[in-house]
Symmetry: C2
Subunit: 137 residues, 2 copies
């Protein structure tokens, strides 16, 4: 049986791609891989691709030169969690404060990891989590 | 400035956690890390944590011994993409067919990677993608 190597692409659906891109790049330090009217793909440390789709713009099949992508879309303030180094935890708290991003809560996990939670411009619930949250991380 | 190491947790919101878990474990081969009435966390090859939340069950603050998690929820058939080895592409097509999962489309990407698309029991649009889809992958 084949096995999945990783989960490589995570999608968030946003009301204004430019606003979201500014937040993810200027505040969280991500870099744009590709951007058009419909979506933006952001690089997360060469390991993951965060896709920001304009809400409602992918409800029809997307036709590309190499094939088609079936419809997809989403709403609601969904959750995504970014890995950070524990040593950077205070620096992230300072950086979010400096950018006017409110930290909504913290969690100390049984395995020793810790998390903080905040929201992106669309209300998505983002988490920064250090090693020690999961048995695998 | 600190930097994000990875995107580690991806969330999907589902109508029946048990049904979704059976699909992700029995068909896609993922393993349960933790499961309760509200959600299930699945391991993706030790690299990523896929969170399946019961839709509507996280709309209030979740209180844990170590802190609180603010509300989150989602609807709509959102997208997520799993990394696979190119050599396993035919095996994945066979496995999906054997499990009655329809492959909806394929894409051949300019960099040489290829993808196939299908849906999970909640209609989420899943992709299996080989290396060569992104400049980073």
């Amino acid at each position: 049986m084949p096995s999945l190597s990783d989960l490589k692409e995570t999608a968030l659906y946003v009301d204004d791609v430019d606003v979201a891109v500014r937040f993810y790049c200027d505040v969280l330090g991500l870099a744009v891989l590709i951007q058009d009217q419909r979506f933006c793909a952001l690089d997360v440390n060469g390991r993951h691709v965060l896709l920001l789709f304009l809400r409602g713009a992918s409800c029809e099949t997307t036709t590309l030169p190499g094939g088609t992508i079936p419809p997809h879309d989403g709403s609601g303030p969904i959750h995504a969690g970014f890995a950070i180094e524990d040593a950077d935890f205070p620096a992230w708290e300072s950086l979010l404060a400096k950018n006017g991003v409110a930290v909504l809560s913290h969690v100390n996990w049984p395995r020793g990891g810790r998390s903080l939670y905040f929201r992106d411009p669309d209300g998505h619930l983002l988490e920064l989590l250090t090693p020690g949250v999961w048995v695998t991380y």
